[in-house]
């Protein structure tokens, strides 16, 4: 196996097809990255939301007990 290009410049240009190849690569990587980042965001947001709900309930329960 040999490296097909003589320089980074050549690799970016891809003998005139550079725009097409690198656009395809970039968009693909962006979408794929989103598919990995988005669920992590959701995961963290869900945990935060649940924790907040719990604290609110605990506070409410605590207040209820004090009233009694």
């Amino acid at each position: 196996m040999k490296f097909q290009f003589d320089s980074v410049q050549q690799m970016l240009e891809m003998a005139g097809h550079g725009h097409y190849v690198w656009t395809a690569v970039l968009v693909s990587l962006l979408v794929m990255a989103w598919l990995l980042v988005r669920p992590l965001q959701l995961h963290r947001a869900n945990l935060k939301f649940i924790a907040r709900q719990l604290r609110r309930e605990q506070r409410r329960q605590g207040a209820g007990e004090k009233q009694q």
């Binding site: 196996m1 040999k2 490296f3 097909q4 290009f5 690799m11 891809m14 003998a15 005139g16 097809h17 550079g18 097409y20 190849v21 656009t23 395809a24 690569v25 968009v27 693909s28 979408v31 794929m32 989103w34 598919l35 990995l36 988005r38 669920p39 992590l40 959701l42 995961h43 869900n46 945990l47 935060k48 939301f49 649940i50 924790a51 709900q53 719990l54 604290r55």
Partner: protein, 259 residues
């Protein structure tokens, strides 16, 4: 009873908590595997594979286009099977997997179309051609979007799941019919024979990185699916004790980090 013991692995599989905790252990390995495979595949395909005699370097897009198309189609079947398991065994986790598979599949189908279009321009001179494969991919995208739309159209989570599962199954039966119909339609109307080099007639040096990329995409899909499903589990099981403990623990951890 002996029969119960045989099925426990199946029912354990259906426990969201088991899934969450087990995949939690696998995640670091899966991340590593996915990133390594993707990097290796892309570097090999983009840098080391020989260019095509007719298409030149634009053919390198195949290293993204074909794997992504594979997974887009395979992902639909996975979604439908998850839906079927949910309908038959009423397994919540299966519905969660189905729900997670939908956006991933739709995004990959979009990518298949996009990379195909970008590849088409230097190859055939136009971004869009109504050939059998591209048209079928477009229809697949709409099948995915339909499942997604139906999922969120219902107030009740359970109804949305069941409706999406039925739609996914109906779509599954139709996919081969749609592909064959569109294929037949295209050969009927085809103006000139434009066929791009299909995998089997490729030189081995070009084929190997393609195989690697396909494996890499499978690993990627598994990773994305697990991540989405885990987030979904938290949301759906938020009343469960183990989730509450997890959330409070995570809250303490992040507070500890901030402080």
């Amino acid at each position: 009873m002996a029969s119960n013991r045989h099925w426990t692995w199946f029912y354990r599989l259906g426990s969201p908590r088991w899934f969450y905790e087990t995949t939690g252990r696998w995640l670091p390995w899966l991340w590593t595997l996915t990133l390594v495979l993707l990097t290796a595949g892309l570097v090999w395909g983009l840098g080391y594979a020989p260019q095509d005699a007719k298409q030149g370097n634009s053919f390198r897009i195949i290293y993204l286009h074909v794997p992504v198309s594979f997974l887009a189609l395979a992902g639909y079947y996975l979604m439908a099977i998850a839906g079927a398991i949910g309908l038959i065994w009423k397994m919540k986790l299966s519905y969660m997997v189905m729900k997670s598979a939908a956006p991933i599949g739709a995004a990959l189908t979009f990518l298949a179309l996009f990379t195909g279009a970008v590849w088409g321009k230097p190859t055939w001179g136009t971004y869009w051609v109504w050939d059998a494969r591209i048209t079928s991919m477009l229809i697949l995208l709409f099948l995915y979007l339909g499942v997604l739309a139906l999922q969120y159209a219902f107030h009740s989570q359970e109804s949305g799941n069941k409706a999406s599962a039925i739609l996914a199954l109906v779509g599954t039966v139709n996919i081969p019919i749609i592909y064959k119909s569109v294929d037949w339609w295209y050969t009927l109307h085809q103006p000139a024979t434009i066929k791009f080099t299909s995998a089997p007639s490729m030189h081995i040096d070009m084929f190997q990185p393609l195989l690697l990329m396909i494996v890499a995409l499978y690993s990627f899909y598994a990773l994305a699916l697990i991540l989405f499903t885990r987030a979904e589990i938290l949301q759906r099981e938020r009343k469960a004790t183990w989730v509450c403990e997890l959330a409070l623990q995570a809250g303490k951890d992040s507070a500890g980090e901030a402080g």
